[in-house]
């Protein structure tokens, strides 16, 4: 696919153009937070962020989504199912880890039962990636078949070459379309520069995630009791996780709403009788780890973690899932 060099000015123009033709979402600052927001002014678009607080999953699987409405009139029921407007949507500045996470969502929401809400939003979105040159201490994407410059899942990838110029690599036709007719051909020098940046970025990633191949055999291990002890079941890790997709449904007035839920919560699995197979915190934490590193792998052939590190960073009590899965393998080698 094509590679181009564009200047900062060019980018601004492109953004301006996109704002007119499509819905443009890009990271911006809100106080101390970096969040993806609809762009109202290209100046607000933020480039130098490690990663957004909330992953881009929120645009495909919103925290709250109306699935249908009902109306009862004189004993008759009318249902109206409303779908998103079919406008193109460009998500700008997606980090490679988040892009990869969407491939996992695809597996979940496609399949025997196709989730039209998700799929429709997916189909009309273009993902513009931004390569990570300054990954964080908490990032560990490299050990999970991804990387700071990985392209998987993206439509186009931009790399900041440092001197107000950007290397744009088209990945899909949808992506290339955005940059048609701007910038110039990239040269060898720029390509080397990008390679260097990529290598440098990879070096900065020191955290690795190595789940033991026989994770299943630890299921009954008292280890889980121990490591889950400090978890407060707050669900922050799951809400901010780009691959967590648990949800709940509920009627609110006339709307049927789907909203985020979390396996960390005790009511998540509590039945009306009061019976709860995952009442103990240990079982809930274990579920989270196993779902990511065992069950998803079993069902879809891949670990459901992309190494974005959000859960490590944002956990209010600093529960470190990477340490926990790695530790688990070490314990094993001990005995």
């Amino acid at each position: 696919m094509t590679e181009k060099i564009v200047s900062k000015e060019d980018l601004k123009k492109i953004l301006e153009g996109l704002m007119k033709t499509s819905e443009l979402l890009a990271p911006g600052k809100e106080g101390d937070l970096v969040l993806f927001k609809p762009v109202k002014n290209p100046e607000e678009v933020f480039f130098a962020y490690p990663n957004s607080l909330k992953p881009v999953k929120e645009f495909f699987f919103p925290p709250r989504e109306e699935l249908f409405k009902h109306e009862i009139r004189e004993g008759k029921v009318g249902l109206s199912s409303e779908h998103q407007e079919n406008r193109k949507r460009v998500i700008w500045g997606v980090r490679p880890c988040d892009a990869k996470s969407l491939l996992m969502f695809d597996k979940m929401f496609d399949g025997e039962y196709k989730d039209s809400y998700y799929l429709e939003k997916r189909a009309k979105s273009v993902l513009v990636g931004l390569a990570c040159n300054e990954p964080l201490d908490s990032c560990f994407c490299l050990s999970l078949n991804a990387g700071p410059h990985a392209k998987e899942g993206l439509d186009v990838l931009i790399t900041d070459l440092g001197d107000d110029s950007y290397l744009v690599e088209g990945i899909t036709a949808k992506g290339e379309e955005l940059f048609q007719g701007c910038g110039k051909e990239s040269g060898e020098g720029e390509r080397t520069r990008k390679k260097e940046l990529e290598e440098a970025a990879k070096k900065k990633i020191r955290k690795t995630c190595q789940p033991p191949p026989d994770l299943e055999s630890f299921f009954e291990d008292p280890y889980w009791e121990k490591v889950s002890r400090k978890c407060i079941s707050c669900g922050v890790c799951t809400y901010l996780c780009p691959t967590c997709f648990c949800f709940d449904l509920s009627y609110e007035g006339r709307d049927c709403i789907r909203f985020w839920d979390s396996c960390s919560f005790s009511p998540f699995t509590k039945m009306t009788s009061g019976e709860n197979p995952r009442r103990e915190k240990k079982t809930r934490y274990r579920q989270r780890v196993y779902h990511k590193f065992s069950y998803f792998k079993k069902n879809f052939g891949e670990i459901a973690c992309v190494g974005c590190g959000r859960c490590l960073r944002e956990c209010p009590v600093k529960v470190d899932i990477v340490e926990i899965v790695n530790q688990c393998s070490k314990d094993k080698t001990k005995d």
């Binding site: 004189e74 009061g274 019976e275 709860n276 009442r279």
Partner: protein, 655 residues
């Protein structure tokens, strides 16, 4: 669920401003309403029959009546639906008269509001669950605590209605303060003449069991079913054997100051407090008895003809169940030693009104002579000082003790009657003589008995030679006054018994900041306490004179009788209930419950199987006020008939 809606015209009272037919029509379209109609007078017999018929015909299970205020006809319609075979608590009323047709004039608006009110009632009834009235058995027996005139009167009244009473008195004899008096205002009856017959009745009535020299130690249970532990202290005299001959205390060698006589006279170590005591059976004061101190003497045992003395006797614990409790523990006097101006209680000839009463009493320690305790000389010039302790926020009591004005006047009168040469001076702040013939009485004391009333405060009392000099100001004339007195009598205020607070906590009733017991409602429930089944009478509640005391005693008895007369108590089921699964055990509810209807309970969690603390409602004590429910953060405690769900359904119906 099949709801029926019945809209009343109330003649034209409602239909004048509300289009009742339209209300019924709209109601027909409301969720789960299977039948709706309007009628001229719903509360009339045909109206009620209409409801009953519709229940049958349309198989209705819940009813909404849109008519007048539930305060008026809730009972009527509950009965009506009960008659139709439904649960009476699955009926709700929409108040479209008092709160709609009567206050709005515009028919359109009135109709609109009426429809909303019906909507709310339909929503609420939809959430209503069937409730069952609680029935609890009643122990047909009353406990009276305190044997003063209040307790005596209450015991007699209850016994007259044919119920059993147990009267518990802490002293060796019943009678209380009144037994100490000579005469009583305003009629000047001889106290003994009117009291003694009552005391005797108490002792002889088959329905009354008297425990003197006894105290209530523990109270548990609840209305209709109190379980009480009574400690009958060892008298060291076998009550069955003793004939009351009195030889023992005649012979006893130990003399100690008599409490009954306020230390003005002496009694023996084995004694009856006063000659008319009931029961007229002595007790041994073990603290002063030589035998108990030094294991010698035993004179009383030797002289007692029937051999009733029993040094080995032990306290007896009696456990009994009662349906109701009447508290009549009376008062005590304010201790004036906090006042420097009155000599900090150090001058022997500065005494309280009660001392005076003993002196004035013909059978008292001085044989009816008013004397100076210091030297026994008959007192001539006597200064009475009112409001000692009362109405003094700083050092004393914030309240007026109500009867000091009267007993001072009485005593000024008695002084003159006992010694025609005597002169009474009364320092007062105000004269509060509100009562039948009271003002007249005070006037008479001034005019006929020549008592000198001085308005003002006493600034100092000091001893000079062997006289007391009382210095004060007459604020009316503005003059400084000094009076040379033989005796000063302080009208000390009435205060709660020193152990009142402990008593209240044991009973679970409330008390105010002066430790006086608090009535459930000052106007509407003046002898009830917030704890169902416990009633108040006499001076333990507030300072009262004898007429008021006796009146409240009878009032409390009627309340108690009313309570225990039926075989079962039927209690409204509109009470609180805790869901132990979600109760956090914070016990905030327990702290707010005005009726102490909540207790702490240790239970095993249904799911985690761990022990935990939860709140538990004693249904028969709960009044259903809902304070607990509004305080509970988790919503673990809810009020039947006004459940969160029901109230929110009403809200949702109109928003």
């Amino acid at each position: 669920m099949r709801i029926g809606v019945f809209v009343c015209h109330c003649g034209t009272n409602i239909s004048g401003t509300v289009d009742v037919a339209k209300v019924a029509e709209v109601a027909r379209g409301m969720p789960r309403v299977k039948f709706a109609t309007d009628y001229r007078y719903m509360c009339s017999e045909p109206g009620q029959n209409l409801i009953k018929d519709a229940v049958k015909k349309h198989n209705l299970d819940k009813i909404v009546v849109a008519s007048c205020s539930p305060s008026l006809h809730e009972r009527t319609f509950r009965k009506c639906v009960e008659g139709a075979g439904l649960n009476p608590y699955q009926m709700e009323m929409a108040n479209i008269r008092e709160q709609c047709s009567w206050v709005h004039h515009d028919k359109k608006e009135g109709t609109k509001k009426a429809i909303d009110l019906v909507k709310m009632a339909v929503a609420k009834v939809g959430k209503d669950v069937p409730l069952k009235r609680m029935r609890i058995p009643v122990e047909k027996k009353v406990l009276v605590i305190g044997g003063g005139i209040a307790g005596i009167q209450a015991a007699i009244d209850v016994s007259m209605a044919g119920f059993k009473v147990v009267l518990v008195e802490r002293e060796p004899s019943v009678g209380g303060r009144m037994a100490r008096f000579d005469k009583t205002f305003p009629t000047l009856d001889c106290a003994a003449c009117i009291l003694t017959p009552k005391m005797v009745t108490v002792a002889q009535n088959d329905n009354i069991t008297l425990y003197t020299y006894s105290e209530v130690e523990e109270v548990s249970g609840y209305v209709g079913n109190f379980e009480v532990k009574i400690r009958k202290r060892a008298r060291s005299v076998d009550m069955d054997k003793c004939t009351g001959c009195g030889i023992c205390y005649g012979k006893c060698p130990t003399k100690v100051p008599s409490e009954f006589d306020m230390g003005l006279g002496k009694r023996k170590a084995i004694y009856v407090p006063f000659p008319q005591a009931v029961p007229n059976i002595p007790v041994i004061d073990r603290k002063n008895c030589i035998y108990f101190l030094r294991e010698k003497c035993k004179i009383c045992q030797k002289v007692c003809p029937p051999g009733a003395i029993d040094y080995e006797q032990e306290d007896e614990i009696i456990k009994e169940k009662f349906g109701a409790i009447i508290v009549a523990t009376g008062f005590t006097l304010f201790d004036h030693s906090v006042y420097g101006e009155y000599g900090y209680g150090k001058f022997k000839d500065v005494v309280t009104g009660l001392h005076f009463e003993r002196m004035a009493n013909a059978s008292g320690p001085t044989g009816g002579k008013i004397v100076r305790p210091s030297d026994g000389r008959e007192a001539k010039d006597v200064v009475f000082i009112q409001c000692v302790g009362s109405r003094d926020e700083q050092k004393g009591l914030p309240y007026c003790s109500r009867l000091c004005c009267m007993y001072t006047a009485k005593q000024a009168l008695l002084l003159k009657e006992h010694n025609s040469e005597a002169q009474a001076y009364v320092f007062y702040i105000d004269i509060r003589a509100a009562g039948k013939n009271y003002e007249e009485f005070v006037r008479r004391v001034q005019e006929e008995y020549g008592a000198v009333y001085l308005r003002g405060r006493v600034s100092r009392i000091f001893e000079k030679d062997d006289m007391l000099i009382v210095r004060g100001a007459d604020t009316l004339s503005g003059a400084q006054i000094e009076i040379k007195a033989d005796l000063v009598v302080l009208a000390s205020g009435l205060i709660a018994q020193p152990d009142a607070r402990k008593m209240a906590q044991m009973l679970g009733i409330s008390y105010d900041k002066n430790n006086l017991f608090t009535e459930a409602h000052p106007k509407l429930a003046p002898v009830e306490t917030v704890t169902a089944g416990i009633f108040l009478t006499g001076a333990c509640q507030s300072p009262k004179d004898i007429p008021d005391t006796v009146a409240t005693a009878s009032a409390a008895s009627v309340k108690a009788i009313g309570l225990i007369a039926p075989d079962e108590l039927t209690l409204e089921p509109l009470v609180a209930k805790v869901n132990p699964d979600i109760c956090s055990g914070c016990l905030a509810c327990l702290q707010v419950c005005p009726f102490s209807a909540i207790e702490k309970e240790d239970v095993k969690d249904r799911l985690t199987k761990e022990m935990k603390i939860v709140a538990k409602v004693i249904e028969s004590v709960c009044h259903g006020c809902g304070a607990c429910s509004a305080t509970c953060r988790v919503g673990a405690i809810d009020i039947a008939g006004f459940r969160d769900e029901e109230i929110l359904a009403e809200v949702e119906a109109i928003t």
